[in-house]
Subunit: 239 residues, 2 copies
């Protein structure tokens, strides 16, 4: 069953007009025709069965029938990731959606080479990954921030898993076992790592849990994915 | 420091001739010149410091100086992965190298759409990832096999972590905690999952530990990476 994210409210009898891209995907790529069923979700109203009611050159219309799953949300987990080159950043967003991060926050650090990202493109990737992975929400992609500014206003009740490649941090699994149930975030640095003063600030912050991801040097996308998988196994919904 | 894999024996005073690709990378891409240092490894003799001794149009020559790290090997871990489309298969090989798999075995299953892979290209990706990740060996990429034939001769002392998306398997972390120290393999299916008879055979085999990777549907590359990260945290060298 094809799953599609739509921004519209979902309720029995509602009529949804698909934008051109989605209509093309449904009819031309997936060869669906009038009468075929799809699943719809919008991040608020759960998952609904809908029927393709009308196909024209300008788009298509979907008729919402019945709710198939109530709305649920995964764990309260942010992925905070320093800007890296586009292909790896796109991989990170795709994998964050598959591995159940609720938000992706993009940060500029001292050794980051970039200072902007195509947020719309990253949002589209998050939507597609959410459709395929079966979740009922789409991870939010937040605008680029500066790491220091973000840390200045960090909420005291949110824990930050700091993937510290330079150091003597405990292995992630062990470090997380003693950690409290709380909203969490995972911080992944740029390819060049963190500057010494950034590392010091992070290691000294009371909300930070420094962790090691093992003896090998990991690219940013690998580190993000490994950290998400381990966190979900210890603190999240893969327990 | 640039790290390069070479097939040659490494010993103090040895002279290594770089093939054209490697020479071009060193001199044109990384702008190294005569007298600059690089690190060399061959999977057998540890890591060695070498100096760029000669650069010509045909290639370059490296002079091996002293061993900087003795040879070590990561855990005895195979990644067994069903053939998937080329970009995702290449990602899987890159990540298997970064996350410390010792071998990658490619399999054809009932629902696999492909029956061959460009092994040479995958080997080149494994070499490059091993160079960057700091390991002292390169994961072996084995030729394509059939899943059933592989299971027919499966060694009785090797455990197989079967990532079973269809079922009621225990979460990976929990299932691995009770599992024995042994040589291990991780099995990742194709995008369409395993056929019912494949699943039955796997679930019934005494060497199999079925695991769940959580409530979301994961693409093959995400599943491979998540499984490797969790395995290394519980059984491997990220403990």
């Amino acid at each position: 069953m094809i799953r599609l994210f739509v921004p519209d409210p979902l309720a029995a009898g509602a009529s949804i007009v698909s934008p051109p891209d989605q209509a093309r995907y449904l009819t031309t790529v997936m060869r669906r025709a009038v009468g075929d069923e799809v699943a719809l979700f919008n991040g608020r109203d759960g998952e609904w069965r809908a029927k393709l009611a009308e196909v024209s050159k300008r788009g298509c219309r979907l008729k919402v029938e019945a709710q198939t799953r109530p709305q649920t949300l995964g764990p309260d987990l942010d992925l905070v990731v320093a800007l890296v080159k586009r292909p790896r950043l796109e991989t990170i967003v795709e994998k964050a959606a598959e591995l159940g991060a609720r938000r992706v926050r993009l940060v500029v650090t001292r050794y980051t080479n970039a200072d902007h990202a195509k947020i719309d493109r990253l949002r589209a990737i998050a939507v597609e990954a959410a459709e395929q992975t079966g979740r009922l929400d789409v991870p939010e992609i937040l605008p680029v921030e500066k790491l220091n500014a973000m840390l200045d206003v960090w909420p005291s009740n949110q824990r930050l898993m700091f993937c510290d490649e330079a150091g003597d941090a405990r292995p992630a699994l062990e470090a997380l076992k003693d950690a409290p149930d709380a909203p969490w975030a995972i911080l992944i640095g740029p390819e060049g790592g963190f500057a010494p003063e950034e590392r010091e600030r992070l290691r000294a912050a009371p909300f930070v849990t420094p962790v090691s991801l093992g003896p090998r040097i990991l690219r940013a996308d690998t580190a993000a994915l490994a950290a998400l998988a381990i966190w979900q196994s210890v603190e999240g919904d893969c327990r």
